[in-house]
């Protein structure tokens, strides 16, 4: 144990642990439906014969898959992980643990409130819930509560940080807490769009208090949130890659200052880019689409920076472990440590996910890929691998840390990670290709009458990939449950593998630890990017769309 550690109480560990329990439970159900979708594409339809009447359709399944995986697994994991990062990084308890507990329980209530209508097939609206498809009001209320609950946990973080800052005026904010805070602040700015959509439009409308909505306006609200949502997912994975992986691999973080700088850029640039999800929307002018395109290209830059810094940190580690030559150090990395392996393989697939993202962002190139199978192909490399596989890797040390018990079956974990990588490569590649050939997303392709023969081979690979992923995710759940119930205690507590940087963080310039300029900059960019068009859309809104229950 080095001097840089801090002892969490059992209560704190339990609180963090409960976030992960809910997250993994959500993943275990949500990830059941992904493979059913994928296998349907290959012509193996489980809905007709097996899943009915418990699960009513491909679309209820897809809604469960999207909501439980992309909203619940992620949000609960992230808030739990951030709680750890704040306490361990600042080396102090939360200032008001009861406040954070309120936030957590609100998220649990929200999850339950949203889950019930989904399971009753009253909210098969997919996780984007575009009006004028209208779900049961409890679905919208539930989603709102999950978001607000996460905000409340964030307020608890801010108060804790404020107190730490008063006691430590000249110290650089510890990197892991710094990054957690930026992620949460970015999230709170990001969720304003969906909050407006839910509170002003969807909830009153679904309760019958409003007769009609303007669906184009709601798309603009949603995608204000929808893009930075992916950075809410990604940044915690980046935190692991920057601030843990170098040490797990045996080295140090290559550049503390650039790591911090990249996160400030994400705070600045994650939100004012939403129109790149609306390039082919009728109600948003080309001019504004172009502006967002430019801003989206800008937000790609900090990820390019991250790639270099993280790989350089791995090189540092590989060489410290005896690696020689230009690339020989790669082999010296601890590939047999499931926590490291998960992140390395996640990074490899993320290279391709990032490239796909740049393609999606490239304005008129989007015409080639919008709403095709390419899109889920892309996001299964990003949220489902870069983020999810990294989160699995984190749990591979975090669960033993929280429980004081051994990881159940480390060899199984290594196999699980490889299966995820292989399954995702097959699935995602096939989806990208069949999407370029014209296949739509969100469609049970097994039933579609217009699919040409040339798609068949790719759709088969989609099903095979999905099947491999089904095995992998259930291996993961088994390992998690096994690690929870195992009797094998660890002799020593796991020391969280927080990395040191090559240079003392105190040498990082002071302006990288000042919030005001970045918050002001983010606000200005937001006003420029969204102000005029949003005001125009609100001012000219025509609330002519009643609700439709089309499933």
């Amino acid at each position: 144990m080095t001097a840089n550690t801090y002892q969490l109480t059992a209560k704190e560990k339990r609180f963090i642990g409960w976030h992960f329990i809910v997250a993994v439970a959500a993943l275990s159900i949500g990830s059941l439906f992904g493979p059913f979708q994928a296998m349907e594409h290959a012509g193996w339809d489980f809905y007709e014969k097996w899943l009915n009447p418990l699960f009513h359709s491909y679309y209820e399944g897809l809604t469960l898959h999207g909501v439980l995986n992309a909203l619940i697994w992620t949000t609960f994991f992230i808030t739990g992980f951030m709680t750890f990062l704040m306490i361990y990084g600042l080396k102090r308890p939360l200032s008001y643990p009861k406040l954070n507990a309120v936030g957590f329980w609100m998220m649990v209530v929200g999850l339950t409130t949203a889950a019930i209508p989904i399971l009753l097939n009253e909210a098969s609206v997919l996780y984007t819930f575009y009006p004028p498809m209208k779900a049961h009001w409890a679905f919208y209320v539930g989603v709102t509560l999950v978001v607000v609950g996460s905000w409340i946990e964030g307020y608890g973080f801010y108060i804790t940080y404020y107190k730490w800052r008063k006691e430590n005026p000249k110290k650089r904010t510890p990197l892991i807490s710094f990054m957690a805070l930026i992620t949460m602040v970015m999230w709170q700015i990001a969720t304003l769009g969906a909050a407006a959509e839910l509170l002003v439009d969807l909830i009153p409308w679904s309760l019958g208090l409003r007769q009609g909505l303007d669906p184009q306006l709601d798309r603009t609200y949603f995608w204000w949130t929808g893009h930075p949502l992916v950075y809410f997912w990604l940044l915690p994975a980046y935190i692991s890659w920057y601030a843990f992986l170098p040490r797990q691999a045996g080295g140090k973080l290559f550049s503390d200052s650039l790591a911090r700088f990249s996160f400030w850029l994400f705070l600045l640039l994650s939100v004012p880019v939403g129109f790149h999800h609306q390039y082919v929307d009728p109600g948003v002018p080309e001019g504004w689409k172009m502006v967002h395109s430019l801003l989206t290209y800008s937000v790609f830059f900090p990820s390019m920076l991250t790639a270099f810094t993280v790989v350089a940190s791995l090189e540092n580690a590989g060489r410290a472990r005896g690696g020689k030559g230009l690339l020989g150090w790669l082999a010296k990395l601890p590939w047999n440590d499931p926590g490291v392996l998960a992140q390395l393989l996640a990074g490899i697939l993320y290279f391709f996910g990032g490239i796909g993202g740049l393609i999606n962002a490239s304005y008129n190139i989007n015409l080639v890929v919008h709403n095709t199978a390419w899109v889920p192909g892309h996001f299964h490399l990003t949220v489902s691998t870069a983020v999810t596989l990294t989160f699995m890797g984190i749990l591979y040390w975090m669960v033993p840390y929280l429980t004081g018990k051994e990881l159940w079956c480390k060899k199984c974990a290594v196999i699980q990670v490889w299966l995820w990588f292989i399954g995702m490569t097959i699935f995602s590649n096939a989806m990208h290709v069949v999407g370029l050939l014209g296949a739509p997303r969100r469609t049970p392709l097994g039933q579609a009458p217009y699919i040409p023969e040339e798609w068949a081979g790719h759709l088969l690979r989609v099903g095979i990939g999905g099947f491999i992923l089904l095995i992998s995710v259930y291996m993961f759940i088994t390992i998690m449950v096994g690690s929870w119930v195992t009797k094998k205690k660890l002799a020593e507590e796991v020391e969280p593998p927080v990395a040191e940087s090559l240079l003392d963080p105190q040498t990082t310039p002071r302006w990288l630890d000042h919030w005001a300029p970045w918050l002001i900059g983010a606000t200005i960019l937001l006003i420029i990017a969204y102000g005029p068009q949003l005001i125009y859309q609100i001012g000219t809104a025509q609330f002519t769309s009643p609700g439709f229950t089309v499933w």
């Binding site: 090189e315 740049l358 008129n364 190139i365």
Partner: protein, 51 residues
């Protein structure tokens, strides 16, 4: 600002990350090829605006 006289933490030698440079170069090549391919697909699908 050079990299020669940096304060270091411990006995670290600050070498340039040559392996990283190679990997980044390969990455850049792949980006250009993949992005370029989809760009060409877009062009091959023709004009979408006729005044």
């Amino acid at each position: 600002m050079t990299n020669q006289k940096l304060p270091d933490s411990g006995n670290e030698q600050h070498e340039h990350p040559k392996g990283t440079a190679v990997i980044m170069a390969i990455f850049m090549l792949i980006i250009i090829i993949l992005w370029g391919t989809v760009y060409l697909i877009m062009l091959s699908r023709g004009v979408s605006f006729y005044g």
